[in-house]
Amino acid sequence: MKSILGKNLGNYRTSYRADMALLNSRNKKIGMVILLLVIFLLPMFASNYFIGLMTLCIISSIGAIGLNILTGFTGQISIGVGAFLGVGGYASAILTTSMGYSFWIALPLAGIITAIIGGLFGIPSLRLKGLYLAIATLAAQFVILFIIRRWVSLTNGTSGMVLQRPTIGDFALSSNTSYYYLSAIAFLLSAFYAINLVRSRTGRAFFAVRDRDMAAQIMGINLFKYKVMAFAISSFFIGIAGSLLAHYTMIVSPEFYEINVSIQYLAMILIGGLGSVFGSILGAFFITLLPVVLNIIVGSLSGILTDLSHILSAFEEFVFGAVIILFLIFEPGGLAHMWSNTVNYFKKWPFSY
C-alpha cells in the first residue's frame, strides 16, 4: 500500500492522542470524578429502598446498552431481548446451582453462552432486514422460552431454578448495598466498554452497516460478520444483565422473560436515544422508575381521585404507551438528545437567546 503523499506532515501523535482521549477536557474529567464519587458514595446517603431501585436501574442499563449495540448502533431491531435475558439467567443458574461453579466464573460464562446463542439467532440477519428481522427475533423469543419450559432436565421446566447471592470468601453479597456495588462495577465496565467500542474500528463498522450497508461493503466491511458480531456482543451484555438479575432475585423462571420484558428494553433505548450509550442508561432509569413516579403521583392525588389506585397498573400501561409515542413524535433523539440540548443551553448561558 502506498501513502498518498510522499512527504511527512510532521508528528501529530501527541496532539491526536490527547484529542482522541475519552476525557479530552478538564470539565469532562471533573464531571467523571463527580459521577464516580456519586455512584460509590451513594449508599452512605441514600435509603435502602433507593439503593434497591438504583440496583434495578443499573442492571437494566447493562441490558439496554447491550440492546442498543444491536439496535441503535447496528440498526438491527430485536424484539427478543426478554428471552436472551433468560438465557443469561438460566446459564448462570445452571452453572452455579446444578454444576456448582462459583458466581465469579458463572457471570462471564453466562455472558459468553448468551453471546453464542445470540450469534446463532443472528444468522438470519444475513438475509433479513428491518421488520422481517424484528419478527424473526420475536419468533426466537417464543421458541427459546418454549425450549426453557421443555428442557426440564436442564432447566427444571416451568418451576424455575433457585440461585444464591454471590460470595467473596465468607461474605455473601446479600445486602442491598453490597449487591449494588457489584452491579455498579459491572455497569461501569459495560459503559466503559461500550463507549470505547463506539469510537473504535468495530463501532464505526457497526454504524456503517446501519447507515448504508452498500457503502460499508465497499469500505471492506464484511456485513454478515459484523451483523452476527453485533448480535453476539449485544447478547453478551444482555446475558450479563440476565445473570446479575437472576442472582439478585435468586430465582429464575420462564415467567420472568416474557415478551413484555423485550418491549420494555426496546422502550428504554428508544426513549433514551438510539445509538447512544448514555441514552441507554437514561432510558433504563426512565423506564424502571416510571411506575414508581406514577405511583407517587397517583398516591398524592388519591385525595382527589380515590379510585385511581385500583387501576394504577392500567394507568401505568397507558402512560407507558403515551410516553413512547410522544417521544417518537416530538423527541426522536430521546433523552440523550434532550440532555445535550440542555447542556448546550447552559454552556451558552446567559447568551442562550
Binding site: 441514600a46 435509603s47 435502602n48 429502598y49 433507593f50 439503593i51 434497591g52 431501585l53 434495578l56 419450559r149 421446566g157 416451568t158 418451576s159 424455575g160 433457585v162 440461585l163 447471592r165 446479600s174 442491598n176 432475585t249 435468586m250 430465582i251 423462571s253 420462564p254 415467567e255 420472568f256 413484555n260 420484558v261 420494555q264 424502571t288 422508575l289 416510571l290 411506575p291 414508581v292 413516579v293 405511583n295 407517587i296 403521583i297 389506585s309 385500583h310 387501576i311 394504577l312 397498573s313 392500567a314 401505568e316 400501561e317 410522544l326 417521544f327 413524535i329 416530538f330 423527541e331 433523552l335 434532550m338 440542555t342
Partner: protein, 400 residues
C-alpha cells in the same frame, strides 16, 4: 417546538417528584400511643393476566382489613394494610416488593399467583418476611426451599389427590380412567407429577395428558386426542377462560367425560363465562360459597351490610381473600403477644406457626401451621354446578 418544551417540562417535573419522594424512608411514623405497629403489604393482580380472579381476591383482603378497623381493630395493635397492583408482571412485583421491604418496612406480605410467589420466595426467605399467597403449589411445602411461604388452602396436589380419591370411591362400573388437562406454566404443571404418583398408588389409571394454553382459542385437537383414550374423568388445572374453552369444545365434540376442576378452574366466574356449558361440571371448593349459611358468614355479612353490599356482590375468590387476611391477622396477633418490641417478620413467622386448628366458621377448612408445615390444610370439598350455581356435594375432607 412547543410540544418539545412541554415534554421537557414534564420530564423535569417527574424527576423532581421522584427526588422528593425517594428521600424519605417512611418507616411507619405516626400511629397512636403505645400500640405496637405492624405493616402488611398485598401484591394484587387487578389489571394483569389473572385479574379476573385476582381482583375479588384482593378486594376480599381489603374488606377484611376495613372490617377489622371498623370493629375497632385489635387491642394494642396498629395494623397498616397496603395494597398494590402488580398486573401479574414479575418486574413490577419485584419493584413493589422492594418498596414494601425497604420503604414501608412490612412484616408480612399477602401475595397472589404462582408468578410473584415463585419469583420472590428466595428473597422473602433471606429477608425473613412471611409471604402468604393463593398459589397452592406443593413445592412451597418444602421448608428448606421456601421457609417463609405460607398458603391457607389445600395444595393443588392435595386437591388432585382428593379428587382421585373421590373418583375411586364413587366411580360405578369398572375401573375409572382419568385424563389431566393443564397449561404449560408453573401453575399448570404444579400438581401433575403428584397426581400421577398418587393415582398409581391407589390404582386409578391416568390414560392421557393434554396441554392447553391459558389463552387458547380452541382445544379441539387436544380433546380429540384425549377422546382416543376415552377417559371417564378429566381433571382440569386451568383458569376460567381455558376451562370454558375446554367445556365448549368438549360439548361441540360430544365428549361425555366428566370434567373436574381444581380450585382455579372453579368459582362463579366460570359459570358467568361458560353459561349452560358449566352445568354438571365438578370442581374443588376450597372456600365457602357466599350464599352458604355458615357461622363464619355472619361477620362478613355485617361488613357487607355496612358497605351497602350483599352476598350477591361477592364470590368465592372474595371469600378466599377475606380468609387469607383473617389468618394473617391471627398470626400477627400471636406475634404481638409474644413480643413487646417491634414486630419483625420472624415474629410473624412464629406467630403463624403457632396457629392451630383455627376455626374459620366454615368459610374454609380449619387452618393449622407448624414449623414443619406451612400448608394450612389438606381438606377440600367437592362441588358441582347445578341450575347455574355451585353446590357442595361433600364435606371438608382430606385424601388421607
Amino acid at each position: 417546538m412547543k410540544s418539545k418544551k412541554f415534554l421537557s417540562l414534564i420530564i423535569g417535573l417527574v424527576v423532581l417528584v421522584f427526588m422528593a419522594a425517594c428521600g424519605d424512608d417512611a418507616d411507619g411514623s405516626g400511629g397512636s400511643g403505645d400500640d405496637q405497629e405492624v405493616t402488611i403489604g398485598t401484591l394484587a393482580d387487578i389489571t394483569g393476566a389473572t385479574g379476573d380472579t385476582g381482583t375479588p381476591y384482593s378486594e376480599g383482603q381489603d374488606h377484611f382489613f376495613e372490617y377489622l378497623e371498623s370493629t375497632g381493630g385489635i387491642d394494642g395493635l396498629d395494623i397498616t394494610h397496603l395494597s398494590e397492583d402488580y398486573a401479574y408482571e414479575i418486574s413490577d412485583a419485584q419493584r413493589i416488593y422492594q418498596q414494601y421491604r425497604d420503604r414501608d418496612g412490612v412484616s408480612a406480605i399477602l401475595g397472589w399467583g404462582t408468578g410473584d410467589t415463585e419469583a420472590l420466595r428466595q428473597q422473602v426467605a433471606s429477608d425473613q418476611i412471611p409471604f402468604m399467597s393463593a398459589s397452592y403449589s406443593e413445592n412451597l411445602k418444602d421448608l428448606d426451599e421456601s421457609p417463609y411461604n405460607f398458603f391457607v388452602a389445600a395444595s393443588y396436589s392435595d386437591q388432585g389427590r382428593m379428587v382421585l380419591e373421590w373418583i375411586k370411591d364413587n366411580h360405578e362400573g369398572g375401573d375409572p380412567t382419568v385424563a389431566l388437562l393443564y397449561n404449560d406454566t408453573g401453575f399448570g404443571r404444579s400438581p401433575i407429577d403428584d397426581i400421577k404418583d398418587y393415582a398409581e398408588e391407589i390404582g386409578v389409571e391416568i390414560v392421557d395428558e393434554q396441554i392447553i394454553d391459558l389463552a387458547a382459542t380452541d382445544a379441539q385437537s387436544q380433546l380429540l386426542n384425549m377422546e382416543e383414550h376415552d377417559p371417564d374423568y378429566g381433571i382440569i388445572q386451568q383458569t376460567w377462560a381455558a376451562t370454558t374453552t375446554i367445556l365448549r369444545d368438549a360439548d361441540t365434540l360430544d365428549i361425555d367425560t366428566q370434567f373436574i376442576g381444581l380450585n382455579q378452574a372453579v368459582g362463579e366466574g366460570l359459570i358467568d363465562q361458560a353459561g349452560d356449558l358449566s352445568e354438571g361440571f365438578m370442581g374443588v371448593l376450597t372456600h365457602a360459597l357466599p350464599y352458604e349459611d355458615v357461622p363464619g358468614m355472619d361477620e362478613y355479612i355485617e361488613y357487607l351490610d355496612s358497605q351497602d353490599m350483599t352476598v350477591d356482590d361477592i364470590n368465592m375468590q372474595h371469600v378466599a381473600g377475606w380468609v387469607v387476611a383473617k389468618v394473617m391477622v391471627e398470626g400477627v396477633k400471636n406475634a404481638a403477644d409474644s413480643t413487646d418490641g417491634e414486630i419483625t417478620g420472624e415474629d410473624v413467622l412464629a406467630g403463624l406457626e403457632a396457629i392451630e386448628d383455627l376455626d374459620l366458621g366454615g368459610l374454609a377448612a380449619p387452618v393449622t401451621f407448624t414449623d414443619e408445615l406451612h400448608a394450612g390444610t389438606e381438606e377440600i370439598r367437592l362441588g358441582i354446578v347445578e341450575d347455574g350455581q355451585w353446590k357442595a356435594i361433600t364435606d371438608y375432607d382430606s385424601y388421607r
